[in-house]
C-alpha cells in the first residue's frame, strides 16, 4: 500500500515497471527498490531461516541485515532493499535452495 497524502513529502505516480516474483506478475514504480515494490504488493515474506525455514521479512532496509536477500535475474543473494527495481526483472525467493546438512 502506498501513502495517500502527506503533509511534507509528495509522491507523484511514476512510470510503471513490470516484474515477476516467484513467477507472479507484479507492478512496481520507477524509483522503487525491489523490496519496496514487493511490500507495496502485500508481500512480506522475503527469505527463510536456513535451518527451520522460518519466514523472514526485511529488517533494516539499508543493506545491513541480509534478511531480504533474493535471487534476481539469476544472481544469488541480491540485497533487494538496496537494488533499484527494473522493468522485466525476475525476482525469486531463495527459501528452497539453501539446506543445512545436519550430522
Amino acid at each position: 500500500m502506498r501513502i495517500g497524502g502527506h503533509p511534507i513529502l509528495s509522491f507523484e505516480k511514476k512510470k510503471e515497471l513490470h516484474f515477476t516474483f516467484n513467477g507472479r506478475d507484479l507492478i512496481g514504480y520507477e524509483g522503487d527498490t525491489i523490496a519496496a515494490a514487493l511490500h507495496d504488493n502485500g508481500i512480506m515474506h522475503y527469505s527463510s531461516s536456513i535451518l527451520h525455514k522460518r519466514p523472514r521479512g526485511f529488517y533494516c532496509a539499508i543493506g545491513n541485515c541480509g534478511s531480504c536477500n533474493m535471487t534476481v535475474d539469476g544472481i544469488l543473494n541480491v540485497k533487494t532493499c538496496m537494488t533499484p527495481l527494473q522493468d522485466g526483472m525476475i525476482v525469486e525467493s531463495e527459501a528452497d535452495e539453501v539446506t543445512i546438512h545436519e550430522e
Binding site: M1, R2, I3, A36, H39, M44, I62, C65, M82
Partner: protein, 361 residues
C-alpha cells in the same frame, strides 16, 4: 589499483562534511557509498533538526542532505563519488577492496576516513523474526523514500528520539500507531517529540515491553507485559494488541567491521552503542592516517556527526601536508561546536561514554 589522497567510506553527514573540508584543503578525494545516492540516513529524515545554526538547526534532514551534497559541487575536478559500491576489505597497507555491480577492484589511499555509520539493534522476544517486525529506521526508509506504508496499525517499541519521531512520521503517512512501549520508567527522547504523540492520542506505555509476537507467516498481534524495577515480567499484566507491523527502536550499534578488519584498536562502550575505535583528539585511530567520524565512533546525532567529519577532514589534510588555509580557526570552531552539542542532560550518556573510552572532553 587506483591511487587517491583520501578515501572516505560512507557518504552520510559525517563523510560529506569530511569531504568538503578536505577538498577545500586541496586533496583528491573519493567517496565510496553503498546506496545509490549520497546523504546517508538524512535522506529520509523529514523532521527539523535541533542544535545551532552551524548544524542546520530548524532545517529538515532531507534538506540538509541536499545542502551537504551541493557543497561539493564546486570541487568536481578533485572529487570522485562511487555509488552502489561497497568497501568489502580494508588492509594495513591502505588498500581498500571495493565491490560495485559485477566489478571488484582496489584503491590505495594516503589517508582513509571511515564514516560507515550504524545499524539498528534488534530485541530478543518470542517470534521476533516474524515478517512485519521492522527496525524503525527501515520503516522510515520505506515510507519517506519510497512512499510505501509499513502496515495500517503499528506498535512502536522504544521511546528514544528515533522511536518518537518515526511514530509521528507514521501518523503523518496515515498509519494508526496503537501504542508506544518503553521498558524503562521514563521516556528516552526529547519531550517535545513525545508530547506531539500524546496530543495525537498515542498511548506511551512505560515499564512495558513486548513479550512475544503472534501470527503465522506474518505478525498479527503482540503480547505486551509490564516490568518491575528489576526489569522482570509482572505476571498477570499481559495484554494482547492487534497490529500488522511492529517497529523496533532500541538503539543503534556502530558499523565497525572495516576498522576491526584492519586490526585497529577497538573498545566496547555500552553508552556509545557497542564496539568503537580508540581515537585521539584528531579523530585518528590506532592506524596512522586512518580517521573515524560519525556514528561509527559512537552513536550520537547527525549534528555531531557533521562536526566530527569536519575535524577528520581537517586533520587528514594537515597530516598529508596540505593544511587547510584556516586550519587554526576551524579547529577551535569545530571543537567548540562539538562541546556545545554534547552539553546538558541529553549529552550526559555520550560524555560518560567518551570518558570511559579514555577521551578528553
Amino acid at each position: 589499483m587506483r591511487n587517491r589522497d583520501l578515501i572516505i567510506v560512507g557518504g552520510g553527514p559525517a563523510g560529506l562534511s569530511a569531504a568538503r573540508v578536505a577538498l577545500e584543503a586541496g586533496l583528491s578525494v573519493t567517496i565510496i557509498e553503498r546506496a545509490n545516492r549520497l546523504g546517508g540516513q538524512l535522506i529520509k529524515q523529514t523532521h527539523k533538526f535541533f542544535g545551532s545554526k552551524e548544524e542546520y538547526a530548524k532545517t529538515r534532514g532531507i534538506d540538509i542532505a541536499t545542502i551537504l551534497i551541493h557543497d561539493l559541487d564546486e570541487f568536481s575536478d578533485q572529487l570522485e563519488v562511487l555509488n552502489e559500491a561497497t568497501v568489502v576489505g580494508m588492509y594495513k597497507d591502505y588498500v581498500l577492496t571495493v565491490y560495485q555491480g559485477h566489478d571488484y577492484f582496489k584503491y590505495k589511499a594516503k589517508a582513509i576516513i571511515i564514516a560507515t555509520g550504524a545499524s539498528e539493534k534488534v530485541l530478543a522476544f518470542e517470534n521476533n523474526d516474524l515478517p512485519g517486525i521492522y527496525g524503525a529506521g527501515a520503516v522510515q526508509t520505506l515510507m519517506n523514500l519510497y512512499g510505501v506504508l509499513p502496515g495500517q496499525t503499528v506498535v512502536m517499541v522504544g521511546s528514544g528520539n528515533i522511536g518518537l519521531i518515526v511514530s509521528y512520521q507514521m501518523i503523518q503517512a496515515g498509519v494508526k500507531v496503537k501504542a508506544l512501549l518503553e521498558a524503562s520508567s521514563h521516556i528516552g527522547g526529547y519531550l517535545v517529540h513525545a508530547s506531539k504523540l500524546v496530543r495525537l492520542g498515542v498511548p506511551i506505555l512505560t515499564k512495558t515491553t513486548v513479550k512475544r509476537a503472534i501470527g503465522t507467516n506474518k505478525i498479527q498481534q503482540i503480547e505486551t507485559v509490564q516490568l518491575d524495577e528489576n526489569w522482570n515480567y509482572i505476571a498477570g499484566t499481559e495484554t494482547v494488541i492487534d497490529c500488522d507491523a511492529l517497529c523496533i527502536s532500541v538503539g543503534l550499534t556502530p558499523l565497525h567491521q572495516l576498522l576491526s578488519m584492519a586490526d585497529i584498536e577497538m573498545i566496547y562502550i555500552n553508552e556509545l552503542g557497542g564496539l568503537i575505535p580508540k581515537k585521539n583528539e584528531h579523530y585518528e585511530t590506532s592506524m596512522p592516517r586512518v580517521y573515524a567520524c560519525g556514528d561509527v565512533t559512537g552513536i550520537e546525532e547527525a549534528s555531531s556527526a557533521m562536526v566530527e567529519g569536519k575535524i577528520a577532514g581537517l586533520m587528514a589534510s594537515r597530516d598529508l601536508g596540505r593544511s587547510h588555509p584556516n586550519f587554526e580557526t576551524l579547529e577551535q570552531e569545530f571543537k567548540d561546536q562539538l562541546q556545545n552539542l554534547r552539553q546538558g542532560p541529553c549529552g550526559e550518556k555520550i560524555r560518560s561514554g567518551l570518558t570511559r573510552a579514555g577521551e578528553q572532553l
